[in-house]
């Protein structure tokens, strides 16, 4: 049986097997889901309502389409996605934690034809850039292999009541002002920053680290590293300054002492319970924060180093892909288009997902209830777009850089077993090792 797998791999063709090197681009097409009954085979991530709500609305508008939805944790999806895509019943729609290796193995459908047919290539280019993979395996340009259901924004949430206690009346304008607020909070016995850094959720310290990197230097080299451009490195002088800054925060006790044991959801629960002035997180949590902290939670973009400097933040699409051999690829592509253009879908996107639905630049973003933190995040998103400061996440650079690189190394810094310089060299070494292995 092993031999059969070997031969199948060499031959490259076969009824169920994926074609190596990615499928060839199709001509422009704008399919619909037709009128015959269609069952869309989908795999979603647990704990996030948005895709479920969107699928319900889609069936309401197109009753011939029903859904067969499977869901699993993000961590499990990272492991499972290659298997799911290459299996016998590949999904029509699947949440993609990473893309490049899947494209290289020919597991994802090339969406260029749909992009031309539906007119996605006329949307703001930055939306689609992160989902493009070139023939040399780098991201940021080339054929389109995934679409985002929305475009999230990551920044700094703050507890308004604690902010008042510390005397923070408006968002800090510079990094130095931010540091001053942190010190003031610590002085008053308030935990400055809540964070999660346990292995099971992955190191949340990567968020403040990346914000610091973008404050100390330009965003392009960071994106280049994430997109695996040849010769890119994360170990640069400005990034070292950022890492040292983070190390100072850790040593000053601005993070919880048990950070290495805190999981993602515990951190949010504690923040909602009033522990922590700030938390670096993304707008996908808006609905949860609003529930417990309605009107008491705000959002700010991490300030630049200099007064009036350009702002940057992690913004990435909620990436979904279509399997190369999916049965209902056309209907899935139609769904993508519908999410971004249909008014009802956009409303759901904003209210449930808390994020920008993307789509054509001339479509208005649906309004949100006043008092919801989503207002803050949408406004912030606009500012980041103006500055062209959108970055992907450093955790997404390779399939396992987060679990095998950032998380253990950041944990070592918290545990005082490693310094800022060691952090960056170790992660860069792991990055090179993984690229060589082809993951």
């Amino acid at each position: 049986m092993f031999l059969a797998a070997l031969l199948a791999g060499c031959a490259g063709a076969g009824s169920g097997g994926p074609q190596p090197g990615g499928s060839t681009a199709a001509n422009a097409e704008a399919p619909t889901c037709g009128t015959e009954p269609v069952v869309l085979n989908a795999t979603f991530e647990t704990g996030f309502d948005l895709p479920f709500k969107l699928s319900e609305e889609f069936t309401r508008q197109y009753p011939n389409v029903t859904w067969d939805i499977k869901q699993d944790q993000f961590q499990n999806l990272i492991n499972a996605t290659p298997r799911l895509l290459s299996g016998d019943n590949p999904p029509d729609l699947i949440r993609l934690p990473t893309m490049v290796s899947l494209v290289k193995d020919g597991l994802l459908k090339n969406l260029d034809g749909y992009a031309a047919g539906f007119g996605w290539d006329k949307w703001p280019a930055a939306q689609l850039a992160q989902n493009r993979v070139a023939t040399d395996g780098t991201r940021g340009s080339g054929s389109l292999y995934a679409m985002g259901l929305n475009y999230s924004l990551t920044g700094v949430f703050y507890n308004k009541e604690l902010a008042a206690q510390v005397g923070m009346t408006k968002p800090p304008a510079t990094m130095a002002d931010f540091d001053a607020v942190l010190a003031a909070a610590k002085g008053k016995g308030i935990l400055p920053i809540m964070v999660w850094n346990a292995s099971s959720s992955g190191g949340g310290l990567a968020f403040p680290l990346q914000q610091l990197m973008a404050a100390y230097g330009p965003t392009q080299p960071i994106n280049d590293w994430i997109f695996q451009k040849p010769g890119a490195t994360i170990d640069t002088p400005s990034n070292l300054q950022a890492a040292e800054h983070l190390e100072r925060w850790i040593k000053a006790g601005y993070f919880p002492t048990d950070a290495n044991a805190i999981q993602y959801t515990d951190a949010n629960a504690r923040f909602r319970g009033g522990e922590g002035l700030f938390i670096f997180n993304g707008d996908w949590e808006n609905a949860n924060y609003d529930k417990d902290m309605a009107g008491k939670v705000g959002f700010l973009i991490f300030p630049p180093k200099e007064q009036g400097g350009s702002v940057a933040a992690m913004s990435s699409p909620l990436t979904y892909g279509i399997a190369a051999n999916a049965k209902n690829a056309g209907c899935a592509a139609f769904f993508f288009n519908w999410v971004a253009t249909n008014e009802q879908a956009r409303k759901i996107n904003v209210s449930v997902g808390g994020s920008n639905p993307g789509g054509p630049a001339d479509l208005a973003i649906p309004s949100v209830a006043s008092g919801s933190v989503t207002n803050d995040t949408l406004a912030a998103g606009a500012k980041v777009a103006e500055s062209n400061g959108a970055m992907d996440f450093i955790a997404n650079a390779t399939g396992s850089i987060f679990a095998q690189g950032w998380t253990p190394e950041l944990q070592k810094v918290v545990g005082d077993r490693q310094g800022a310089a060691g952090l960056l060299t170790a992660v860069q070494a792991e990055y090179k090792r993984e690229l060589e292995q082809g993951s």
Partner: protein
Amino acid sequence: MTANRTVPAASRPTRSDQRPASWLARRVPRTRGARRAALAGWLFVLPALLMYAVFVLQPLALTIQYSLYRWNGVGPATWVGLSNYVTVLRDPDLLGTVINSFKLVLFYSVVPVTLGLLTATVIHRVAAGRFGSVTRTVLFLPQVIPLVAAGIIWGWLLSLPGLVNQILTAVGLGDTTRAWLGDFDTALPAVGLIGIWVLLGFCTVLLLAGMSKIDPALFESARIDGASWLQEFVSVTLPSLKYEIGVCLTVTVVAALAAFDIVYVSTGGGPGNSTAVPGIQIYILAFLERQVGLASALAVILMLLVIVMILPIQRLSREDRS
């Protein structure tokens, strides 16, 4: 088959009469009837053997085969000979998982056996009746729950606001409180603690059963000779329990080396690599990083380690047992 034709030559009592008469010849069947009987007997074994061969032995052979290649699970495989093994032995992170599993052996194996001996002795001496029976039932409880549940429960207990810290503060050791599973120094011992909780009951009950089979006359004669509690323990109890101790050690050593469920759910291998054990690493290498060959090499090394540790234990515990 008629009754009087099938008496095989070898069923004449040759050795001890304690062995029941064999239905079939134990050696190569001489008569045609005996051969047919042997074949029929083999048919009884066949289903079990077939399942075992297809789903256990075959994958075992495949693991060894995969370990000699570099393969990502979907594309072609390249022969690399023993270089995966070299990688495991040279890479400090990978070798570290092996070292961590040895450390776990101390917690999962040595401690439960020792504490189990102590507890069983106490039960045997002072709690023979219903009290002892209730104790046995309660102590065995952790064995029947899923290991992942144990991991989740203890993950919660060992956290900063959890019960362990609450108790420490209550007895005045408030300075030592911390997130036990998130601290580099204490994470692995904390995982070991979970293992002790799960395995102590098993060892206690096993050793207790062994103790109740010891001839009371031996204890009497030791007492007449004026032996103290400790002397009695060392000269009477311990030697008679050699076999049970061997079983206890075997089961717990395998549990330590193959640990997966508890670690996956409580620490995920962290912080850093302080609780990374081979089981977790094999899973990560094979399914997350898609380095099937390297994962298989680590798996083969793990299996060799199990054999290397179990064989001496088995050898020692089988001495002078008739």
